[in-house]
Amino acid sequence: MRVRIYSQVHLDDDSVLSVVTYAVAHLKVKHGGSRPVSRVLMGLIRHLSLVVVVGHSHCGGAAACLAAAGNPPPAEPPNVPLLRWLTPLTNLVRTLGLPLEPGAALSAVVDANVRQQVQNLTKADPIKEAWAKGQNVQIHGLVYNLPTGTLADLGVTQGPGH
């Protein structure tokens, strides 16, 4: 899931669902005995799977959606791939009560997007199947703050116990 324009988890996206399936259903098993991984890593892999949705501040994708949301929704779906890709977030932005200050508005969009993608993941089949089997998969929503290099937990964790 390296190349993602603005952390989108679309539930009809076979790419992202494949990644999640591989990570959640297969990776932990395969890596368990075959690689000389560190004890910390072994611990992580053995007892849970960790999924992190990480947005970041100063995001161009979020800014584009914020700008696009200022216009009324188009009657036809966009014919430009990037706009199509970002349509769900643009629609989400239209539902938000945003601060007037542009920087604060952008931050709010970044946060809201992470929350939304965490929610989307909870509805993804590989996650639902893992939970149904009792696997301790935790989904965390974080935001990486560029000017400080630090991650902030949005406190929107989903998974057993939450």
């Binding site: 560190s38 890593l41 992580l44 960790l50 992190v52 935790q138 965390h140 290099g149 991650l151």
Partner: protein
């Protein structure tokens, strides 16, 4: 509210240490990186599997140094990107070896040797 997940807590703690180390090695690094990006090699599509870290790609091109201060792409691979001994095979220097005045050609990717569980930087090469 449930207590914070210990794994997440560990992740955040490592992140804080990493951010502090980077800022100490290169004051203002993060502030500059937040000003935008103009990488010269701007798109890198590859497997991001933990067993084929991206850095192998760069070294497979014979790239021995990466310029990253002015062309930062992003910070990735929080968990499974590198393992210390593995990256050591490539002779990559650590933050400890970093000298700010050499910032145009820094032979530096990340801090995995001295801090095995810190994330790597994904940097952009001047080819």
């Amino acid at each position: 509210m449930a207590a914070i997940d210990p794994v997440l807590a560990n992740l955040l703690e490592r992140n804080a240490k990493w951010a502090k180390a980077v800022e100490e090695a290169d004051p203002g690094f993060f502030e500059r990186s937040s000003k935008g990006q103009s990488p010269q090699v701007s798109l890198h599509i590859s497997s991001s599997s933990s067993i084929s870290p991206d850095i192998r790609f760069w070294f497979s091109l014979g790239v021995s140094s990466l310029t990253f201060l002015t062309h930062i792409l992003g910070v990735v691979d929080w968990l499974f990107g590198f393992e210390g001994p593995r990256i050591g095979c490539y002779g990559i220097q650590t933050w400890r070896d970093f000298r700010p005045q050499e910032h145009r050609q820094v032979r530096l990717i990340s801090a995995p040797l001295s801090h095995p569980r810190t994330p790597n930087l994904c940097a952009c090469a001047d080819l």
